[in-house]
């Protein structure tokens, strides 16, 4: 078993787990944060997206032990108490959420995009979200939500 300290949403978690475990399963089962979803478990769908030092990573295909010493941000790290992050609020307000399974990963990719590019074009939003699949919405409302959140944040 491998001992690691994971920094998740600013909290330090001492964890003992097999070194072959992926970050997704350790976040959900050891850290206890289940907002990050397991979709394909194959690096295709983006439901498991988290940020590693601010950059998007598919947590299903990243070794948990390799995240030691880096700042992990999950969907639980975005809201400020009861105040939703603008990306979360706009997704709700504009109907960018239907079944909701892709939503945490979608929002984390959008967060990484807006952090480095506060005024993205629609094409840039599409590219920023290109590693995230949604089977419900048809994407139009998600694109609108990210666009409006960008305006609100800046």
């Amino acid at each position: 078993m491998h001992h690691m300290n994971l920094d998740v949403n600013g909290m330090s978690y001492p964890i003992t787990a097999d070194a072959s475990r992926n970050l997704l399963s350790v976040l959900r089962n050891e850290v206890g944060l289940t907002g990050t979803k397991e979709g394909c478990d194959d690096c295709e769908c983006g439901a498991c997206m988290v940020l590693l030092d601010g950059q998007p990573v598919n947590s299903c295909s990243y070794l948990a032990a390799q995240a030691e010493g880096r700042a992990v941000t999950t969907i639980e790290g975005l809201a400020d108490g009861d105040d939703l992050h603008p990306l979360q609020a706009k997704m709700l307000e504009l109907g960018g959420v239907q079944c909701g399974f892709c939503t945490p990963g979608m929002i984390m990719s959008a967060k990484a995009l807006l952090d480095r590019n506060p005024e993205p074009s629609e094409e840039e939003i599409r590219i920023g979200l290109s590693g995230n699949l949604c089977r419900c919405t048809g994407y139009a409302k998600i694109l609108a939500a990210v666009g409006e959140a960008a305006v609100e944040i800046r």
Partner: protein, 300 residues
């Protein structure tokens, strides 16, 4: 049960490899492969992605050095790569998704040895060598020598790819990479082609190279013969390039395309790559990646 450590120095990583460990960088091949059941994780894994010795892009008078741990996300926006080694940036920008490009490295891509890798054909036409290091020394291996068959390289298990090196570009040179794809993201090349072109002052080709993606057991260098040398890039010479590329390819049929379709379309990709590389050699700016700028590949 896997034993894992994070390398604190290059020497430590090299010693670990000598003792039987396998390296992990972004994990986009190694970890994904183990989860798909393609190959179990190695017993001992050492993470090499934080080593300063493997980071960074540097251009000297005669050589470009790309550290093995430079990511696709870095390659697609680096000004030196974009301006002088454009084919690499064209390819890096097409890889996977933002998250794949963020953690996936050039060294990892090279050593994974997929015949469908996007950065492979650009490295061949730019004359790159892989710098392989052990605890006792290092050697330079051309890409053609390195890639043996799908997923297999000629590197020994204790050799770590520390950098990709290639000659600085002559004046009036351009390069480009294009690929046929069914979708814009999370895609693997159906076929692809890279080209490097150098022109004289009169617009005649003095040097040209083409390499092909996903049409053979490895990335394939094309012998252009006299199809381009001493000639202008025009309909006749481009048609000759397409014909040679299609004849050089030895594609297979799989779920993404038939062999006949690949053989035909790789010729089309080759002529488009040469055309774009020639325009860049002539001083024109074609934004990275060429696939998007020129509307090649998937429209959505």
């Amino acid at each position: 049960m896997t034993t894992f450590s994070i390398a604190q120095s290059l020497d430590q990583a090299l010693q670990a490899l000598a003792d039987g460990a396998r390296p992990v960088a972004g994990g986009t091949d190694l970890v994904v492969g183990s989860r798909q059941g393609k190959a179990p994780l190695p017993d001992t894994v050492i993470a090499i992605d934080r080593l300063d010795e493997l980071a960074g892009i540097s251009l000297s008078d005669d050589q470009l050095r790309i550290g093995a741990m430079v990511t696709h996300a870095q390659l697609m926006v680096d000004p030196i790569i974009a301006e002088h080694f454009s084919a690499i940036a064209d390819a890096a920008a097409l890889v996977g998704s933002p998250s794949t490009r963020n953690v996936g490295t050039l060294g990892g891509n090279v050593m994974n040895g997929s015949p469908a890798m996007d950065t492979g054909a650009p490295l061949i036409v730019l004359g790159a060598t892989a710098e392989l290091q052990t605890t006792s020394g290092n050697r330079q291996v051309t890409m053609e020598e390195l890639w043996v068959s799908p997923g297999k390289t000629s590197a020994n298990a204790d050799e770590l790819c520390v950098a990709l090196n290639m000659p600085a570009r002559p004046a009036n040179s351009g390069s480009a990479y294009v690929r046929l794809e069914y979708r814009r993201a999370m895609e693997i090349a159906v076929v692809g082609a890279a080209a490097s072109v150098t022109l004289d002052d009169g617009g005649m080709v003095t040097d040209a190279r083409v390499a092909l993606t996903a049409v053979a057991a490895t990335i394939l260098a094309v012998d252009l013969g006299d199809a381009l040398a001493g000639k202008p890039i025009d309909e006749a010479s481009l048609a000759a390039v397409a014909k040679i590329a299609s004849e050089t390819a030895t594609p297979i049929s799989d779920l993404r395309a038939t062999d006949r379709y690949r053989r035909h379309t790789v010729g089309v990709m080759a002529r488009r790559a040469v055309e774009a590389a020639g325009r860049r050699a002539g001083g024109e700016t074609i934004a990275i990646p060429v696939n998007r700028t020129l509307g090649i590949g998937a429209s959505q």
